[in-house]
């Protein structure tokens, strides 16, 4: 792997981690105007996948979407401002944490109906195929284990398969749908086995190891770009926080389980690997961390100082045009 790419993997994962921590701090300070869902713990997934994508590729995301946004290159200042409900936010303060989108970056939007963004990624891939641009524009649908219970996932996988669309279905199995454990709600051990029903490859990867995700996603995206159709990837991962900012996960899971996953934290695994094989040194890691810590302070300051939306914004952008 190129050095630049390697550094980006760390930088993006650390940026997500620090964004989530900062965002939660600010939420608890009352700066967020609504509910927030942290993805800390799951950083390797979006980063390992999006490392293969450009702005011409499309991703669909979830209510736990900050990681996807950052991995796709969105500006953390505008993201923070959006969570603060400010006019400078990514969606002018009208979407909030659960609806951050940036169409210029190929980010179709975080979506707070579980599973609802999956067909949008399929549709983006349909556009690519329609325009003959599969080679440089694939669709990636990010969703959680909870979404595997939604019919629209299965409809979407079937459509992508029969039409051989350039789609990568990425299930981030963080083992909890809200407070419901995956072993209760999903009838199989490995969600990737669902792929067999739609005659597409299904692969399970270690969602805590960005290198494993990178490799598996690279293979799937390569297939999609070559016109060989969709793949289902399951990333076994874990969210360190509760379902939403005020949810205490200790109500439904043990500290032992948390510790087991945190032992395999994606940043820790990365640092261990790159220092042991000497592909990156500690100074570089520290330099990246400092830069990002600084970026988070700037993001908060930007959000804090930004103006509120004008109240007329209530009525704008419902339609492109609408006769009064």
């Amino acid at each position: 792997m190129e050095q630049k790419k390697l550094e980006w993997l760390f930088e993006a994962m650390y940026r997500i981690r620090r964004f989530e921590e900062t965002m939660l701090e600010q939420t608890f300070k009352g700066k967020s105007m609504g509910v927030t869902h942290s993805s800390d713990g799951q950083e390797a997934g979006p980063v390992g996948v999006c490392a293969h994508l450009t702005d011409k590729d499309w991703i669909g995301s979830t209510h736990r979407g900050h990681g996807h946004c950052i991995a796709k290159g969105l500006d953390t200042k505008k993201m923070m401002a959006e969570i603060f409900g400010k006019s400078t936010g990514q969606c002018k303060g009208k979407g909030g944490s659960m609806h951050i989108a940036d169409f210029s970056k190929g980010m179709l939007g975080a979506n707070a109906i579980v599973g609802a963004s999956i067909p949008l990624a399929v549709g983006a891939a349909l556009s690519s195929k329609y325009n003959g641009t599969e080679n440089d524009s694939v669709g990636v649908a990010f969703f959680g284990d909870g979404a595997t219970g939604q019919g629209v996932l299965h409809e979407s996988m079937n459509l992508a398969s029969i039409w051989k669309l350039p789609v990568i279905f990425v299930c981030e199995n963080n083992h909890y749908a809200e407070a419901t454990p995956v072993e209760y709600a999903v009838s199989i051990e490995d969600i990737s086995d669902r792929a067999a029903a739609y005659s597409m490859p299904g692969v399970t990867a270690d969602g805590m190891d960005v290198f494993d995700v990178y490799e598996v996603a690279g293979e799937a995206i390569k297939r999609a770009r070559k016109g060989e159709g969709p793949t289902l990837i399951e990333l076994k991962t874990f969210r360190y926080h509760g379902h939403f900012h005020a949810d205490d996960p200790k109500k439904y899971r043990t500290i032992e389980e948390d510790e087991k996953w945190k032992d395999r934290d994606c940043l820790k695994l990365f640092e261990e690997k790159v220092t042991s094989n000497k592909s990156m040194n500690l100074e570089k890691i520290k330099e990246i961390k400092n830069l990002i810590d600084e970026e988070m302070l700037e993001a908060v300051e930007f959000a804090e100082k930004s103006p509120m939306p004008n109240l007329n914004e209530l009525y704008s952008d419902v339609y492109v045009n609408y006769k009064d």
Binding site: W58, G60, G89, Q90, C91, K92, G93, K94, G95, H99, A101, D102, F103, S104, L108, G109, N111, I113, A116, S117, I118, P119, L120, A121, V122, G123, A124, A125, L126, S127, S128, Y130, N131, G139, G151, V152, E155, S156, N158, L159, I162, S316, D317, V318, Y319, V320, N321, Y322, K323, D324
Partner: protein, 371 residues
């Protein structure tokens, strides 16, 4: 002579004079098909998706003989030509990528169409029966209608949807809905209801060219209705109603098939000396309040005819607008003729009792005309 359809909307004599306008009499279904064809020819980013919009997907035909493989001289099979033949012949001219048969997956298909609309194409989705909207309702409400607003105006959703509505054909409770209000209620969505071959041409082309998601509802009872359609391009302005007939004593407000009922009633009552003005609303969202208030300010009496069930319906919405903004114009209570608060029954006698009829509209007029 160019066909001046704008007369239709604000003319003093109802439908415009079409003498010397190049065009022909055709059925509503043919006007729909020809308009869709014209839009496909005009814009290569337009494509159509839906279940059995061709029929026999993936197979081929030549002179009525079906082949499972593509062979010299064979064309893609067009076994059905779409429900009610709405898309007949299109696959053979535009191919299976632009006339795309789908599995029975309303939510997945509509979601994919929204994703495609968000990324640069202009899909048209046939949802077959209007009732099937509910299967895809989350995609319609949460994605199609909200994306532009919740993403701060970054994007647009140039998507057209259509489906067949209405009772009167023995399709029973799950294939006969007219729940316009379930769509009209959604901010971000536009809803149009053509009532004749001309308006289907004007509204379908306008819907496809519009940058917002538009739902066009085809009432099944209109599909074989004939009328004059000019050859030239006709693109209605979304959000404008039209007068089907001018009159002085009472305003009748119809939508889709009930406009046809109103038109017939007005003709009948003319002979007995009651002069009805008939408004065909054409667009449920946006709704043309001006034409409604303009007419009621003159006639001072109004009957609204809506096949939807009555609670929170277009009929109740229009009533509330008149009560609020036209209270001083009224000389009699606002009358609504709607279906009852029941599902659509199967038995023909029950079904015809369910729907608004000419008799019920006449009865409502009689109740207020001497008020």
């Amino acid at each position: 002579m160019t066909f001046d359809y704008s007369q239709t909307f604000r003319g003093s004599t109802g439908l415009p004079n079409t003498d010397n306008v190049p065009g022909s009499e055709m059925r509503y279904r043919d006007a729909f098909n020809l308009t869709l064809r014209a839009e496909l020819e005009r814009d290569s980013s337009v494509f159509v998706m839906g279940e059995d919009i061709a029929g026999g997907a993936g197979r081929f035909e030549k002179d009525g003989e079906v082949s499972y493989e593509e062979k010299e001289g064979y064309k893609p099979l067009d076994a059905w030509g779409g429900p009610f033949a709405a898309t007949k012949g299109l696959i053979q001219d535009f191919g299976p990528e632009r006339i795309k048969d789908t599995p029975i997956s309303e939510a997945g298909v509509l979601g994919a169409a929204i994703g495609a609309a968000l990324t640069g194409t202009r899909p048209v989705v046939d949802l077959m029966y209007f009732d099937f909207v509910t299967v895809a309702y989350d995609q319609l409400l949460s994605n199609a209608a909200k994306s532009r607003y919740m993403f701060g105006g970054q994007t647009k959703v140039p998507l057209t949807m259509f489906a067949r509505s209405g009772a009167g054909t023995g399709h029973a409770a799950q294939h006969s809905e007219s729940f316009y209000s379930m769509l009209v209620h959604i901010p971000g969505l536009k809803v149009v209801v053509p009532s004749d071959p001309l308006s289907v041409k004007g509204l379908l082309s306008a819907s496809i060219r519009d940058d917002d998601p538009v739902f066009l509802v085809n009432d099944k009872k209109l599909i074989n209705l004939s009328g004059f359609v000019p050859d030239e391009e006709v693109v209605f302005e979304l959000g404008k109603g039209r007068y089907l007939k001018r009159g002085n004593d009472v305003t009748l407000i119809g939508m889709a098939y009930t406009s046809e009922i109103c038109r017939k009633v007005a003709e009948k009552l003319e002979e007995s000396g009651v002069s009805c003005e008939v408004i065909d609303v054409l667009s449920l969202s946006p709704l043309d309040e001006d034409i409604i208030l303009e007419s009621v300010s003159k006639t001072n009496k109004v009957v609204i005819v809506d096949e939807d069930t009555p609670m929170c319906s277009m009929a109740s919405e229009i009533s509330s607008i008149i009560a609020d903004k036209g209270f001083d114009y009224l000389d009699a209570p606002i009358k609504k003729v709607t279906s009852p608060h029941t599902p659509v029954p199967y038995n023909r006698d029950l079904e015809f009792s369910f729907m608004p009829s000419e008799e019920r509209v006449i009865k409502a007029i009689q109740e207020i005309v001497e008020y």
